[in-house]
């Protein structure tokens, strides 16, 4: 895990950038002003010192006798100051405090340039200004001749340095003072930038949560406002298409329900008359009898299909209701098998009684579908095993057939799914397992398909139970 040098949040990044820019700016400004101030200080100090030296020499120079003797040099030195050295060719005035600092470079420069020269040096860790100047004799007619006398003086610059240090410190303090101010400004700026961003985020969240009428009102005319407008437009178009889709879906559901409902009327007539037909087949010839039989069988199948379609459309519309009552699951399953004449084909393994709050009719539908499927698509014997724990009731329906093929496992609960396209049509509606699954879910339970170890298909229904309620 590497430490990130750059913060991740937009807010933190804005703050950091803002503070950095401000502090760098303040520091640069302070430094440059401190720099120019210190340059000016040094220059003016040098000038002042040089002028002082010249000013001290000026009144004495005319009194000098040429060539000067040791005495003259000493007098000159005394007049200018202790830290001065006066030379004339090989003569030197008595040594003062600073003259040992005078460099050969300075002497050479004074002789060669024949004017006042200054030099800054560091000695004993302190800064010094060295000033060297030749004394020029100005005759009455204005002609200037070098006298050969040179005056050297050394001035301690520590004070000036201190002043410069103070300036630098000032610069640092200025920059440091700018930092909290910068952070404060950055917080304000970040706030004003981030508030609309946050609003956008909240709106986006609400949109994601399905509140399709969530909008952000754009403020101002900056990029964020443009983004807001764009997002609002996007939400608008999403809402429009969603509404259209929902309308279509509702229409489709209503259509399925309406169609099924409309089918009931002719089916009522058909159901009534095929029964009359069934009682009169004895007098018919073989073809007519077979035709009547087919009509009867297909009518019953149509009735089943319409019933199942109605049930599915109720699930889709969310109008399927549970009518909960206390049910003995074992008795219910036994009744279900008995009513359909399956008792001798099904091996029921169950305790004496398992009480559960459930919808009796829906439970019957689930069991009838699972067992009917096992008998139609699997091989007998079919085993129904009921077991119960404190939290749930479990009903397993296993057949002795080849089991479900791999590709069918994830589709067996699909509507109108036929595991084997080549298989002859069966009397089922193709909706049985889908309805069974919906019924299980309506109870807060679930239904799963798989294969038993022995090879047969196994469906497992799990229904939650709350013993407190019983």
């Amino acid at each position: 895990m590497t430490r990130r040098l750059w913060p991740r949040g937009l807010r933190a990044r804005l703050l950091a950038a803002f503070a950095l820019v401000t502090v760098l700016g303040a520091a640069a400004a302070a430094w440059s002003s401190a720099g120019s101030a210190s340059t000016a200080l040094v220059t003016s100090t040098e000038q002042r010192l040089a002028e002082t030296v010249v000013g001290q020499i000026a009144p004495i120079a005319p009194q000098l006798t040429y060539p000067p003797d040791q005495g003259a040099l000493d007098r000159l030195r005394a007049a200018i100051g202790a830290d001065t050295l006066v030379t004339y060719q090989d003569l030197r005035s008595a040594a003062g405090a600073g003259p040992e600092l005078i460099t050969d470079a300075l002497r050479t420069a004074v002789r060669v340039q024949n004017r006042l020269v200054t030099q800054r040096i560091i000695a004993d860790g302190r800064p010094w200004l060295l000033v060297g100047t030749p004394i020029v004799i100005t005759a009455a007619d204005g002609a200037r001749t070098p006298s050969g006398i040179e005056v050297y003086t050394a001035r301690d610059l520590t004070d000036v340095d201190r002043q410069i240090d103070a300036l630098a410190r000032q610069a640092v303090i200025t920059a440091a003072l700018a930092l909290p101010l910068a952070v404060l400004l950055a917080v304000l700026a970040a706030g004003s930038v981030l508030r609309p961003v946050r609003e956008l985020r909240d709106t986006a969240r609400r949109l994601a949560d399905g509140e399709l009428d969530a909008r952000t009102s754009p403020r101002g005319a900056d990029e964020l406002a443009e983004l807001t407008v764009t997002i609002n437009e996007m939400a608008e178009s999403v809402q429009t298409s969603m509404a259209a889709m929902q309308r279509m879906q509702a229409d489709a559901k209503r259509f399925a329900a309406d169609v099924s409902h409309e089918l009931r009327t002719p089916l009522t007539t058909l159901t009534a008359v095929v029964e009359v037909l069934a009682t009169t087949t004895d007098g018919m010839d073989a073809d007519a009898r077979e035709s009547a039989q087919l009509a009867i069988t297909e009518t019953h199948r149509l009735v089943r299909l319409v019933e199942d379609l109605m049930e599915v459309s109720r699930f889709d519309a969310g109008t399927a209701q549970l009518r909960m009552e206390e049910v003995d699951v074992v008795g219910g399953v036994r009744n279900c098998l008995r009513a359909r004449g399956w008792l001798d084909q099904v091996d029921l393994v169950a305790p004496d009684e398992v009480l559960l709050r459930a919808d009796r009719r829906r439970l019957d539908v689930i069991v009838a579908n699972l067992v009917g499927n096992a008998l139609r698509h699997g091989e007998p014997p079919v085993r129904v095993r009921i077991s119960a724990s404190r939290e749930q009731v479990r009903i397993e329906v296993t057949d002795s057939g080849p089991g479900l093929p791999e590709h069918a496992l994830s589709h067996v609960f699909d509507r109108f799914y036929k595991a084997d396209a080549a298989r002859t049509r069966t009397p089922g509606s193709g909706l049985g397992l889908a309805i069974a699954l919906e019924n299980a879910r309506l109870h807060g339970g679930d239904l799963s398909a798989g294969n038993a170890d022995g090879g047969g298909a196994r469906f497992v229904l799990r229904l939650p139970r709350d013993l407190e309620e019983l």
Binding site: T268, L270, E275
Partner: protein, 224 residues
Amino acid sequence: MASILLIEDDPLVRRGLQLALSRHGHDVRTADTGEDGLREFGSATPDLVVLDLMLPVVDGFEVCRRIRAAGDVPVIVLTARGDDFDVVSGLEAGADDYVVKPVQPTVLDARIRAVLRRSTSTPDGVRVHRDLRIDTSSLTVSMHGEPVTLTPTELRLLLTLSRAPGQVFSRQQLLEQVWEHDYLGDSRLVDNCVQRLRAKIEASPATPEYVQTVRGFGYRFGPV
């Protein structure tokens, strides 16, 4: 063999059911609207009315209420939706039983016969419980000596419960014994009928003393 009045607006359904019920030995008269049905009902009282709920103008619920107000002729309603609203409204209007279209005539015939059997007596004397007197041979009930008019279904329910005072009957047991439904009968038939019975024999239906609810199980006849 019963005289049946079939009130159904769709001509093919009307004819189909008439044919099928006739095959089952009933004498079936038909009407195609509620008003027509009520007129037929007034001209000759049938043993039982089979009534479609979805009728134009005067709907089945209204027809059912008027038939109920006119006496104790049993009514079986035909509903095109097994939807709860229709069923509950039909029962509240006083229907004795209901079937969902498309109904198999065999099933409808079985329901008709079961309803009609409720008015046949199985005499075992007179039962008196406090102020309630039940005569099982004349099939009359009186309260404080005043006769109480019960429909065959209400009477059958009261007879069944009072046969074993104190015994708890589950809704399923009552459905099988009174309505002769299979194990998947609709328990709302029982609850609804109990409410109507209480309204007629209890001094205060909210705190009943004769037909008591046993929460989570069913009903029992008091007072114990």
